[in-house]
């Protein structure tokens, strides 16, 4: 059992405020992922939860108890560091058992717990080795094992996979997902990686410059981004952004005029909009389809064939590099004129402040 509550959490280094008031509720057994651009404060926030960094102001509660002044070990959390931070002078078994040794757990019990963690992580053959004699992936598992042995209420991960190569990263990601399933604990996970965030998270927290931009399930963030920042940050390749002008508002949604003069109706609520005001239209690269009668026309400037996918870089009015992601192998050629259409529900409108206009209907997969 572990729920976390963050209330107006702030962090300042001298005069510089790097976390500017975070409010967040984390449910028991939830997998929460913090994402955001480099320097936005993900690690700082995680370290404040861990107790490694003092909280400048605000309240952090675990299971309803305020823990701002509680030391890191007494919060019942375990952390996996990006650099693994294994103890180089101890064997794998000693690394994993260190917390229990400090807690004066009897040796037999300690050994049993280490053996159990080693079984879960398949570290059995390496228990007597030192960290320097392990591969990167094995070190990573030891770091996770060290956390498991303590049976913490909450696991904290700070970019745990960023030092692994792509194949191993994928594999370890799946192992972490299984671990979450098996241990049934709360996990908080910091990453840069879209795929990690989308696949692991129950709840994604998008941070920018020390503030929360949006909190929601991966699909909610993907289908209903709250603002331009989240729309651009979630999804790869990035959402295409076009400047458009309002034509009119009807029950069917907001009609806008593209830079090319073509009109489109997007099913959003346009309360308070007047004709002529400027908006931004967001189109996901995967929402565009070639269509001879489509409203968007452009010239193909670059084709990237990834095998299963084809990425087209298209120059069209209002946007120099519109990315179109097509399934399979597309036979489109360079410099060819192509027309595209997009499903209205996959289009997003943002006002001048960057806030999304609310969609008229929620996506069927997002309650």
């Amino acid at each position: 059992m572990a729920t976390l509550t963050l209330r107006n959490i702030k962090k300042a280094y001298g005069a510089a405020e790097v976390i500017k008031g975070i409010d967040l509720d984390i449910e028991d057994r939830e997998f929460v992922v913090f994402v955001g651009p480099s320097g936005c404060g993900k690690s700082t926030l995680l370290r404040m939860i861990a107790g490694l960094e003092p909280i400048t102001s605000g309240d952090l509660s675990i299971d309803g108890k305020r823990v701002n002044e509680v030391g890191p070990a007494d919060r019942g959390l375990a952390m996996v560091f990006q650099s693994y931070a294994l103890y180089p002078h101890m064997t794998v078994a000693q690394n994993m058992g260190f917390a229990l040794r400090l807690a004066k757990v009897p040796k037999a019990e300690r050994d049993a717990k280490v053996a159990e963690a080693a079984r879960i992580l398949q570290l059995g053959p390496y228990l007597e080795r030192r960290p320097k004699d392990l591969s990167g992936g094995q070190r990573q598992r030891v770091a996770i094992g060290r956390a498991i042995v303590r049976a913490p209420k909450v696991f904290l991960f700070d970019e745990p996979l960023s030092n692994l190569d792509a194949a191993l990263r994928g594999q370890t990601r799946i192992e972490i997902a299984k671990l979450h399933e098996e241990l049934a604990v709360t996990m908080i996970y910091v990453t840069h990686d879209q795929i990690e965030a989308m696949t692991l998270a129950d709840k994604i927290v998008v941070l920018q410059a020390g503030r929360i931009e949006q909190v929601g399930s991966p699909l909610e963030l993907y289908h209903h981004p709250a603002n331009i920042f989240v729309a651009g940050f979630i999804g790869s390749p990035r959402m295409n952004m076009l400047p458009v002008a309002v034509d009119g508002v009807s029950a069917a949604g907001v009609s806008v005029r593209l830079p090319s003069g073509v009109a489109l109706t997007i099913p959003c609520s346009g309360a308070g909009l007047s004709a002529g005001s400027a908006l931004t239209l967001g189109i996901r690269p995967e929402a565009l389809r070639p269509d001879e009668n489509g409203p968007i026309a452009g010239t193909v400037k670059l084709v990237e064939r990834l095998g299963g996918l084809t990425l087209l870089h298209v120059e069209t009015e209002g946007i120099e590099d519109m990315i179109v992601q097509l399934e399979g192998l597309s036979l489109v050629d360079l410099h060819q004129q192509v027309r595209f259409s997009a499903d209205g529900a996959a289009l997003h409108l943002f006002d001048q402040a960057g806030q999304a206009l609310p969609a008229l209907a929620r996506h069927s997969l997002v309650a």
Binding site: A85, Y87, P88
Partner: protein, 271 residues
């Protein structure tokens, strides 16, 4: 092949030359200690070796008492310096403030003050506190004398330790004491050892304070050497014998610990 051979030859010759040049005074001192006083004032290499000088030195002064003082004072001073420097360097390396840099530089700057500048105040302090000619007094002075260097060296070793390892320890439930004892000490042991060794050598060789603050009961080997110099004229053989006996323990000690010393002193560079 031949190229690397000549290169190695040149390096070997250069190395030996430098080593011999540096070693020559010590060699000459040891040689002189086996001469008679009449041979000692000449530069003759052919002489009848004699232990007369050693005999006289032993007859005139209690070598073992001096040597024991040296050991107690050097070890005591170094241990005391480490005892203060380890927590100081820990806090400076892992919990720095805006004043850390300045404090470190200030500590080092005290080494630039000529000791004689504070001789009178310290002498008076020692007299009123009855520390003159006591081992405790010299241990205190030596610890203070070496503290800046010991703190600096430990600080540079500690700086090499990734913060995250200690943070992982803190997550695992280590308090400050456990952090230092279970993690920092084992990780920086070569550094701490070489720092201790250097401090030991500096204490052993120190002459200014020992000559001025001790007379008999706490006098270390540097005082022992000095007692064979000037007053009765120049007795080179006896002086050499006394000096040889004074430096022999630390030379032998240094020989056995040189691997540790070099390893520690180049710790940062190798990593």
């Amino acid at each position: 092949m031949t190229d690397s051979l000549t290169k190695r030859l040149v390096i070997a010759i250069l190395g030996w030359t430098v080593a011999l040049l540096l070693f020559f005074p010590i060699f000459w001192m040891v040689l002189t200690s086996f001469k008679s006083e009449t041979d000692a004032i000449t530069a003759r290499l052919a002489f009848a070796p004699t232990l007369a000088a050693y005999g006289e030195v032993f007859a005139r002064a209690n070598y073992l008492a001096f040597a024991l003082n040296s050991v107690v004072i050097s070890v005591g001073g170094s241990v005391l310096a480490l005892a203060f420097a380890i927590p100081a360097a820990y806090s400076m390396a892992f919990h720095p403030t805006q004043r850390t840099r300045g404090t470190l530089l200030w500590m080092l700057s005290t080494k630039m003050l000529p000791p004689v500048g504070v001789l009178v105040p310290i002498y008076l302090l020692f007299r009123t506190t009855h520390l003159l000619d006591t081992r405790t007094g010299l241990i205190l002075i030596y610890a203070l004398m070496n503290l800046p260097i010991v703190v600096w060296m430990l600080f540079t070793f500690y700086k090499e330790v990734p913060h995250e390892i200690l943070e992982a320890g803190r997550m695992d439930g280590a308090n400050t004491w456990a952090e230092v004892w279970h993690l920092l000490m084992p990780l920086t042991l070569p550094g701490v050892a070489s720092t201790g060794l250097l401090s030991l050598i500096l204490c052993w060789n120190e002459a200014f304070w020992s000559l001025n603050l001790t007379s008999s009961s706490a006098a270390p080997l540097t005082t022992f050497i000095a007692s064979f110099s000037s007053p009765e004229g120049l007795f080179f053989a006896k002086l050499s014998a006394a000096s040889t006996m004074a430096v022999a323990p630390i030379l032998i000690f240094g020989w056995f610990s040189q691997k540790q010393l070099v390893q520690g002193l180049t710790f940062g560079a190798v990593k």
